[in-house]
Amino acid sequence: MSAISESIGRVLRTPGIRAVALVDMGTGMVVGSAGDQTMDLMAAGPGLAEEARLAVRSPGPGVSVDAATVTTMTARSLYLTKILEYSGGEGLLLYADIDLAQTNVALATLQIDRLSPELLAS
């Protein structure tokens, strides 16, 4: 039904990834989400966009920053922000809530890196 849910929903097949959200970097608006949505995504969106913006907007002309990953970790959870695309202030990021009891940082990051290029293309 929703192309966004279908697309980012694929990420949920990875063990340990509990929920994902697609966030508009220009406004912090959550454009779509899938999975266990107990976290208040709407409230989280603007903060995520702000962090990602700081990470990706390196100063200087012609600097191309590849999709950056911003990560927050607690003992049991990993919150990963992956920039899927960014240009001239507008962009989309993927936010994933990961259960570290079921996976680890390396695996989760790897899997998301693998799936990311396809998420917006399909």
């Binding site: 929703s2 192309a3 406004t27 608006m29 202030g89």
Partner: protein
Amino acid sequence: MTESQEPVFPFRATGGPRRMTAGPLGEMLTEYAARGLSGTVRVIGDPGGLVHFSQGGVVAVETPGAPGPELLLSRPGQISGSSWALAYAAAAAGGQLTAELVRRKLIGAARLEALLRIALADAMFVLTAGQVDSCEAEVAEPVCLLPLDPPADVSWLLAETSRRLAVLTTLPSQLVPDRDRVTAKARPLDQRARLDDAQRDVLALANGRRTARDLAFALGRGVFAVTGELDRMHAAGLLAIGPRRGAAPVPPLTGPLVTRAETAAAGHRAGTAGQAEAVREISPPRELPRRRAAGRGGAHHAEAAPSGSALLRVLRLGFSNPQPSDGGH
């Protein structure tokens, strides 16, 4: 119906012409959502616009106040003009343009849905942040070029709009997106290197004639996003805010035709807002088009609702016309 969980739109009393709350618009949309209706809500105001809904969900929002999805799609690096034209020719008439764009691999389905959702939310924000004089609803299958599928949930849309309006009221610069023009401040050479692309794009266009809305159109970005950008740039000392659009009040003409320059001069002489006695006549009084006050002070005549096309009923919520602008602040 449901209990009133509807988000409350803050009444923007800050800076400039008064604005109406979006409450009645929100009420209308909420009611239509509850009934699962399809149709179009025409918002008469400044900028005003159209909210298209299908089976209770919002599929598109059009307004002269925000660039629509077509403009966002034509941004450099997105879909080329010729590819667009071909897809348009093939599918627009049949209402299948979104499917055609994806089929031709001009844009991914998820990305297109994201873009449509982003454009819709921005247009809704602009509509409700602006002046709402009245709303009329027409119940019929809406016709739009790029409908969002699945449609946007009304309660989600109202909540997101409410969030944005709240952000607007707390901006340090108190920038009004469609009123405050911005001008790039001169930067010393060494500091110019520290700008990023988005800031550079804005500064190139910030010539003192453009508001956040104007820049959004010029850049192919959303108005809310650009407003935030300008606010941050102002805080960083990169931009000056002003002059404001629609700041000069013009009294409605009831007598001899006078120019704004003369009204201002007369007001200055007489120490009043240019009353009749101090004004010079240009020509003997005669019937002339009644001049409306600049900006938001003037009355907006409601457009006649299209007749004969409403299937069920036409709702009209009317509001008293706003008072003439008191000078912009």
